[in-house]
Subunit: 192 residues, 2 copies
């Protein structure tokens, strides 16, 4: 299989699209982010990597709380808007309906099917373009319309947005392929 090297790039396929919420100057602000990943299972932690010049960073540091909101595909226009426009220049507090949870200072987007409420654990600085915000997940809020029969989030109902680079496109979730920790079992048993 012939390979080509394209240099050190920050691409991952695919990336999630989330809205990071923080109070800045006492007002809710939301920014769009694709550099986000689960950082620990128990206790649950999440990493959000923000450009160091963003308006949101000071708000997270001040309150030591933030939220990670999973938008659905039908929210693509306001989601893209929140990635185009800085809260420093335009007040984004009324783009969505804000609600607060147990942390009281982590604004969350009611329209988003899933809201992850976080307490800031650490800000890591590797002296590059970004600051790395590591949060302890203290609660997950799910819109009732996006729950499955067991009362857990249903990814098909959530209908999340995906992102790819360097083409810079939003994609939808596709079809179900296979159950995890199941489809490889036959191969595992053959090896025994």
């Amino acid at each position: 299989m012939k390979k080509t090297t394209i240099g050190p790039k920050s691409y991952l396929y695919p990336m999630p699209v989330v809205l990071v919420g923080a109070n800045v100057g006492g007002k809710p602000n939301y920014m769009t982010l694709a550099y986000c990943g689960i950082a620990q299972m128990r206790p649950p932690m999440i990493l959000c990597t923000l450009g160091r010049t963003h308006y949101t960073n000071a708000g997270i540091k001040e309150n030591r709380t933030f939220s990670v909101n999973i938008p659905s595909a039908d929210m693509v226009i306001p989601v893209d808007y929140c990635g185009l426009v800085s809260g420093e220049k335009q007040d984004k507090s009324s783009v969505f309906t804000t609600f607060y949870g147990q942390l009281e200072t982590a604004p969350m987007v009611e329209e988003c099917p899933v809201n992850i409420e976080c307490r800031l654990r650490d800000v890591l600085d590797y002296e590059g373009t970004n600051e790395l915000f590591l949060g302890d997940i203290v609660e997950v809020h799910v819109s009732d319309a996006c729950l499955d029969i067991k009362g857990m989030p249903d990814v098909k109902k959530i209908d999340p947005l995906l992102f790819s680079q360097p083409d810079n496109n939003y994609w939808k979730l596709g079809e179900l392929l296979a159950p995890a920790w199941r489809v490889g079992r036959e191969m595992a048993s053959k090896e025994e």
Copy 2:
């Protein structure tokens, strides 16, 4: 919009599915991972969060190199197999064709359309179930068949795997929705 709290969970929608490669005891080993995200744009960094008991961890620490390989959907069976079986019990060195790049000790999966070669920057330990491996991306290798007309990775050709919890399913990438930093422009101009 009525919401239900489901407690602090390590769910993100969706998660990528990657194969983390490392030499362990001098042999290539691959493990399947969904806790992975870009951690910095420039210099590019990536986070891979591994259960602390995994076989791979010692290999990454020993060589201070690892790889993140993006499998395509048609690799779902061997990918799931690598998540089911520990390299401690079964030799996974011949599940895929291994190649090495400039770091020499980060084994990569030839069959995967994208291979991210990493030098270990930091191992973070928050005393939970996981260890957090932060890597500097030193090179990205792409299968020629998955390049677009500009010589960059084409996510449609890559055909990546996605993962969701708690249902534990693999999904395919869906349809193109909209261009990023474009579809929200009209909304931005109205606000001015």
